[in-house]
Symmetry: C2
Subunit: 541 residues, 2 copies
């Protein structure tokens, strides 16, 4: 795979090398350094090809020719993942591919490259050695731009002291190194800057040093770079585990995963917050939730269904917890007697999910914590369930004025979360029996008092993540409630008709995937848990 | 849970009862019979409440009051699933909930109700018995409309002869029966009609009997009823297993499940077939695939990713295999040397998926076969891989005129599928090295001949289900190819820029979930494998 075209190696000036060698370089000089690096890299591509041509060891390094990356050959060589490098591989020759996260030469005879793959890093050492590593190779390495991909062959060694700048506690003594893909010398954001914790920035500031802070918007503008930080690598692996656990738990409980359409005639569940479009001449919109179609799946005899899919909200909400497109985790199920059959699933599902995350995602949770420190979520074995009335009472007793039949605002939710935590020691609880007037038209009223409903919300750390309820399954009552809520029933006639063909009592709930991860890890912004977030001001990248 | 309001029972006339009892009733009389049934049901609600009031056993039957279905009480009673009823439960009292699929009285003392739950059925027998079952109860049962939900308590018995009209080979001797939810007496389509095979209709026709045939469009108009057939219950469980297997297999191979946005600025991958909409004042469209965002996730260091989510195509394709919204199963992965690393995943993934379905979904596959007979898919342990040139040669040798550098049309694909099956004995194979000109701009050309590309399609039973390729990972070449394909590169600048920050060689593929199930089961229309299909003429239900 080595290039047949010898690669011009760099001849950076001594000043640049010793500057790179300075271990604790002040961040204010970072910008100048990068400029200098870029200049060196540019120079590198023009000069000193002669020295490489004269190098008998030239085959051991250089940029891979593009044609060699076009599926030319299957060699069957074994590759090792950087995350799996450990002491058991001592003295073994390994082959890795990763990004040159940092490159640092010490004099003309040694260069260090920290190579990263999927958030894991290993320190690779290039030392001039007769018949193996030439000074030209060290120069070549020093000319590599950060974030370029390299293939490295080398021997695993175990240093006497702990390695601070890399996740793996072994080094690779490099024998061969090839550039696979070059990054531009000036990156819009630096991975080290993006990976820095607020705490580190503060500490440095107290020591008189101003480190670069990458703000949320800049991160999202260059999301592909931002995603490479250990915290982001971990967040989206945790998010995958949450979604996967959700599906696997429900499958074991007899649920069928379904796919409902996102293109809907009319106006979904009503309201202004829909994205409208033209569907082959028919007015249509994007589904605000799979609500109506998952209920129809119940009327279609599937018994218990779930869906993991995108939901669309055109709301102008500029908060830390609203997105215009997010992932809905939706459940709908027949109930035999009581909607507590639904809250029972909610409780068991989430308690076992939290257990699973705490047990199986230790590495990932630690990577998040490294940049965004947080306390473990406190939750009970048996999920606490309070009534709305009890919640209102707790708030009133705490001196808060809350309308007994209105909805809870963000402040009231947070306060209630705190009161519940103080009293019961849990940050995860269910609040049930909401006033009917604050719930959607398809919600089942309580049998004993139609002012309340068979509905519930679920909270993590004082923020709502789940809404659920028993649904009205009787077409006449459903029609009346829809009308009372100002919905044009002609737009939902297929849905209402589906209840005329025999409809079982049923209930369900919906969860926002990004919110679960955000709140489990106590992150401050939902944009941190959406791969490419969409909000009223952002539809890119 | 029994109603406190006694329910008026029916007094159908003798003619109607004996008519119902006629076991092989001609379908042309079906309509009249249903009319009569409806009339009887209507009459039932008006007359003879007196007889129920005089019945000391009246508590054993009747419609459940609505308030009793509003989560009034948690009794802790044990429910049995109809699909789990078998001889081991002989003489045991069970409690089931299901739909009255058919109701048939024999005289005034016996009624049979076939009760269905999730596609499984059991015959329930109501026989007048002193101190247990009154004649009024038989009348009540006979007045139940088809597809109504009922709760039944009774004793399991094992008849001497095989039961033909139900899936479970036991009966329930009914002690108590309560109506939970009434279906309208005249359903737009009959489940028995919707469940009938073409073969059965043909056979009856040959015997001079015309059975009702429900056409595809009518099925979709009343999808909630159509979904209740055993074949549809099975199809969507198989579809869930396919999607689930896909995710679980890839998870074991180190892939991360991701969620890319469906709302895209600009025009997705270009072309006219996009749904456009206004996004807060910005022109936007619905993603035609997660292509660009999954590649950006690779440039964001996730190594191996997959996504299961909706994709949107505004094409005017009125075929048996195109939908305007379907479920994409998408994969993208770094490759070390060759795109055969991708086809290797494809082969292993699908062979093990087919094995899994054949082993774990026997019941479901049989239910599909009952209505839509099909032969098992033939596939090899090691997936056959041919080049496009080899495919063209086979077609030409068979006398077909095919342009050597054009795309294969539907007819050519089918013919090739047949030729491959004749020669290699497989209905599942990979065709690789397609002409570059028929592939998207981001496809990697072959190293040895840029007329061809590092791409592939995969076929099941002569129809394409998967497209995949190595991608161009070098920004300059990518830009040139995009321009050459007439794409306005300014609309995909973030995507192209993502390759400037270092991009590993990578490849991937996309599969249509609905097509996999359609072709595995040799179904004739993709609308049969989409829960609520969307095509150019349909956006409902």
């Amino acid at each position: 795979m080595a290039s047949s075209e010898p690669n011009p190696a760099s001849q950076p000036d001594q000043a640049q090398i010793s500057k790179s060698a300075a271990k604790k370089e002040a961040a204010k000089k970072e910008k100048e350094r990068r400029k200098a690096e870029a200049a060196a890299a540019a120079a590198a591509s023009a000069v000193n090809s002669l020295s490489v041509e004269n190098d008998p060891l030239a085959a051991n390094y250089g940029d891979v020719a593009f044609s060699d990356l076009q599926s030319k050959e299957v060699t069957g060589r074994k590759w090792t993942e950087i995350g799996s490098l450990n002491e058991s591989l001592k003295d073994r020759m390994v082959l890795v591919r990763g990004r040159a996260q940092t490159v640092r030469a010490v004099g003309k005879k040694i260069a260090f490259v920290v190579v990263r793959e999927k958030g894991f890093t290993v320190q690779c050492v290039v030392t001039v050695k007769p018949d193996e590593v030439s000074p030209q190779m060290v120069k070549y390495v020093n000319g590599l731009s950060r974030e370029s991909h390299v293939d490295i062959e080398g021997v695993v060694s175990v240093p006497d002291v702990a390695i601070k700048g890399a996740s793996q506690q072994v080094e690779i003594q490099v024998r061969k190194i090839y550039g696979v893909s070059r990054a531009v010398p000036n990156l819009p954001i630096n991975i080290e800057d993006a990976a820095r914790s607020e705490e580190e920035i503060q500490k440095a500031l107290e020591a008189g040093e101003q480190l670069v802070k990458v703000n949320q918007d800049t991160r999202l503008n260059y999301r592909v770079l931002d995603l490479r930080t250990p915290a982001n690598q971990a967040i989206f692996r945790i998010e995958f585990e949450v979604a996967d656990f959700f599906g696997q738990f429900l499958k074991k409980e007899g649920f069928v995963g379904i796919r409902t359409p996102k293109l809907i005639a009319g106006s979904s569940e009503g309201g202004a917050a829909v994205f409208r479009l033209d569907y082959k001449g028919t007015p249509a919109c994007l589904a605000q939730s799979p609500q109506l179609h998952k209920q129809m799946a119940i009327n279609g005899d599937f018994g218990r269904v779930f869906e993991i899919g995108p939901v669309f909200r055109a709301e102008d909400s500029f908060t830390h917890r609203h997105l215009c497109e997010f992932t809905g985790l939706d459940v709908e199920m027949e109930i035999k007697e009581h909607y507590f059959e639904v809250t029972d699933i909610v409780g068991r599902l989430f308690v076992s999910m939290f257990d699973y995350l705490n047990e199986k995602c230790i590495k990932e949770l630690n990577a998040v914590r490294q940049q965004y420190p947080f306390e473990d979520l406190k939750y009970l074995r048996n999920t606490l369930q309070l009534t709305y009335e009890e919640g209102i009472k707790m708030l009133q007793e705490d001196g808060m004025e809350v309308p007994p039949l209105g909805d809870l605002n963000t402040e009231a939710e947070r306060r209630l979360g705190q009161l519940v935590f103080n009293k019961y020691g849990t940050e995860f609880f269910i609040l049930c029996r909401y006033p009917l007037s604050v719930r959607p038209f398809y919600t089942m009223p309580c049998y004993d008092n139609p002012v309340y409903s068979n509905s519930f919300d679920v909270f993590i750390r004082g923020e709502e993540i789940i809404s659920g309820a028993q649904r009205l399954h009787e077409p006449q009552r459903l029609t009346e409630r829809a009308k009372a809520c100002g919905i044009d029933v002609s737009t939902i006639s297929t849905y209402i008709d589906s209840f005329r063909y025999g409809a079982p009592p049923h209930g369900g709930f919906g969860v926002g995937l990004e919110r679960v991860v955000m709140l489990f890890c106590a992150l401050n912004n939902i944009r941190k848990t959406s791969l490419y977030p969409r909000d009223p001001q952002r539809i890119a990248p």
